[in-house]
Structures are given as structure tokens and as C-alpha cells.
């Protein structure tokens, strides 16, 4: 029996502590785990529309790369990211679809009248069920969906100019080129 045997428990412990330590201290927010739906089809939904444009449905979005943004008039970070959505729709010509999460339609309408409307269509998710189908934590949340209707990425919380430049736009451009 070699003396090295005494080191086995210590080595095992250090290995385990290191393994858990990396997960704990890597600064990764567990909330930012990729959505359970990444690379899976977007949940099938049909929602009444906010404006005259009619409703919004998963089937209706197929065939184009689309950015689905959950928002609400009562949500402060939504106001913060709103100029970015306007830029995305107006300057970058990206198709952005809104889902008004647990919001009264008249409040959503006032919100968009005040800040500008970047959306090609807005679905009204009054009871938040479509939100739950998407695995939504809260608003705002933004999903990039490819032509086949698969969710490719999710952004939890307000978009930032950095996220838009470095992650969202390159991804959308890449998907559009395919």
C-alpha cells in the first residue's frame, strides 16, 4: 500500500470542490441559461392583435427571420430598450413582432403611441399563457426565430446597444443570408 493512497480523498475533494467552484464563481447567472426551447420550434400560438392589423400567430411568422419581443406598458426596462427596437425595425429593417404581456390593450396602445411603434404586429397575451409557453421569466424578453420557426436565441431583460451590435444583429443577418 503506497503512501499516495492517503492523498486520494484530498484529490477527490479538491476535484469536486473545483468542479462546483467553477460553476459557482464563473459569474454565470443561472437565469441566463439558454431557453429550454433553443433550436426547438417556437410554441404554437394564436393571439388577437392590438391594432387593425389582425392577430399574430406562430404559423403566420413562418418563412421569415423574426425578432419576437415581449413587452408591457407597466415595465420600466421595456421603455429603456424601446429605442433599440425602433432602430432595429427602422434602420436595420429587421422584422420585429411584439407580444404585449399581461397588459391592457389600451395601455399598450398608449405606450406605443408615446414611444413609437417598431412592431410589424402586436399580439395581446392578457393572461400571460403564451409567455409561459415561451418559458418567459418576465418582461422584456426577446427571441430570435429563424425561417423554419425555430427559436435560435433568447435575450432575458432589456436589450443593450452592445447586445444588439455584437449578438442580435450578427445572428439575424446570418440567418437571413441562409
Amino acid at each position: 500500500m503506497g503512501r499516495w493512497l492517503y492523498a486520494v480523498p484530498l484529490v477527490l475533494f479538491l476535484g469536486l470542490a473545483g468542479y462546483f467552484g467553477v460553476a459557482l464563481f464563473s459569474g454565470r447567472d443561472p437565469r441566463e441559461l439558454p431557453s429550454a426551447l433553443i433550436d426547438r420550434p417556437m410554441p404554437d400560438f394564436v393571439l388577437p392583435g392590438l391594432g387593425e392589423g389582425g392577430g399574430v400567430s406562430a404559423a403566420g411568422l413562418r418563412g421569415e427571420v423574426v425578432v419576437v419581443n415581449f413587452f408591457a406598458s407597466w415595465c420600466a426596462p421595456c421603455r429603456v430598450e424601446h429605442p433599440l427596437l425602433l432602430r432595429l425595425a427602422r434602420q436595420e429593417r429587421v422584422r420585429v413582432v411584439g407580444i404585449a404581456y399581461k397588459d391592457r390593450p389600451e395601455d399598450s396602445r398608449r405606450f406605443l403611441a408615446e414611444l413609437g411603434d417598431p412592431y410589424r404586429g402586436v399580439g395581446v397575451d392578457r393572461d400571460g399563457r403564451v409567455g409561459i409557453d415561451f418559458g418567459l421569466y418576465g418582461v422584456p424578453e426577446t427571441y430570435v426565430v429563424d425561417r423554419a420557426g425555430h427559436i435560435r436565441k433568447r435575450f432575458v431583460g432589456a436589450l443593450t446597444p452592445g447586445l444588439l451590435e455584437r449578438e442580435l444583429l450578427p445572428l439575424v443577418r446570418g440567418l437571413e443570408r441562409r
Binding site: 500500500m1 493512497l5 492517503y6 486520494v8 480523498p9 477527490l12 475533494f13 469536486l16 468542479y19 443561472p30 437565469r31 441559461l33 431557453s35 429550454a36 426551447l37 410554441p43 399581461k102 393572461d127 400571460g128 399563457r129 409561459i132 409557453d133 415561451f134 418559458g135 418567459l136 421569466y137 418576465g138
Partner: protein, 153 residues
């Protein structure tokens, strides 16, 4: 009086989150829903179960869970419904799978290895109790050394 108030306040805590209008009429099914929701994470508040959380999303998920049960889902199907949307993250008790074996069994492996080494070490010490007695030659040398020492004094 103050003690009574404190007692009532402390006891009221656990029942605050689940509102009366959420409860199911069938007590057995309601009990199933309560049991299940104690093991489901409220994703907004993270370390609270949806059973204990007052967050609106937790309430929505409690209501949804009850709807699934009423619709005839068994416990496993109702939980799978939520895992499909929120991932394993909603489970407060991580599933036992090959990729979580380290989490579940790692500490026990360390304990076991430590135990085995401790037992081996103790047994080894027990075998060689005390120093070995001197051999005849060693006794002779010792006597000679002691004699020399005496002579030098």
C-alpha cells in the same frame, strides 16, 4: 397578547402565497398540486418554490399546474409540461441522470474514499503495536555502549 400575535403571524406565513381562489374543489387533487408546487422553482424569485412565492408568475404557474391536473395529467406529465418550457431549472430537486451524478454522488464518493483510507491507516497502525524488541546482537551492542559510557565518566 403580543406572543399570540407573533404566533399567528408566524403561522400565517406558509399559507399566504396560495390564494383561496386558486384552490381546487377536490381536496385530494389540491393536495397533489401543493406537493408538486413545493418542488417547483419560482423562476423569478429563484430560491423559492412556487408554493411559497407571492410573485405573479408563480401564481400563474400554480394555476396552470392545477389546470393540468384537472385536465387529467398525472404528476409526472404535469411537471414535464413545465420542464418543457422552463428546463430542469424549474425543478428544485435536480433529476438523477448521468450528467448530474457528480452532483448527487460526488460528496458520498469523497466520504467513502476518506473512510476507506482512514480504516486502512488505522489497521496498519494497529498491526505494528509499539517498537520491536531488540535482537540478541543489538542487546550485546547496547551493553557495550553503556559500559563505554560508564568508563569515560
Amino acid at each position: 397578547m403580543r406572543g399570540l400575535v407573533l404566533f399567528l403571524v408566524l403561522w400565517a406565513g406558509p399559507v399566504l402565497a396560495v390564494q383561496p381562489d386558486e384552490r381546487l374543489a377536490d381536496p385530494a387533487m389540491e393536495a397533489r398540486a401543493r406537493t408538486l408546487s413545493r418542488d417547483l422553482r419560482c423562476v423569478v424569485c429563484q430560491n423559492e418554490s412556487i408554493d411559497a412565492s407571492a410573485a405573479p408568475l408563480a401564481r400563474d404557474i400554480r394555476v396552470l399546474l392545477r389546470e393540468r391536473l384537472v385536465a387529467g395529467d398525472d404528476d409526472r406529465a404535469a411537471v414535464a409540461f413545465l420542464v418543457a418550457r422552463y428546463g430542469d431549472f424549474v425543478l428544485l430537486r435536480p433529476p438523477v441522470r448521468p450528467d448530474t451524478w457528480v452532483l448527487w454522488f460526488g460528496p458520498f464518493a469523497v466520504l467513502l474514499a476518506g473512510g476507506v483510507v482512514t480504516v486502512l491507516a488505522l489497521r496498519r497502525r494497529a498491526v505494528g503495536v509499539g517498537p520491536k524488541p531488540l535482537s540478541v546482537e543489538e542487546e550485546v551492542r547496547l551493553a557495550a555502549l553503556l559500559r563505554d559510557e560508564e568508563g569515560r565518566r
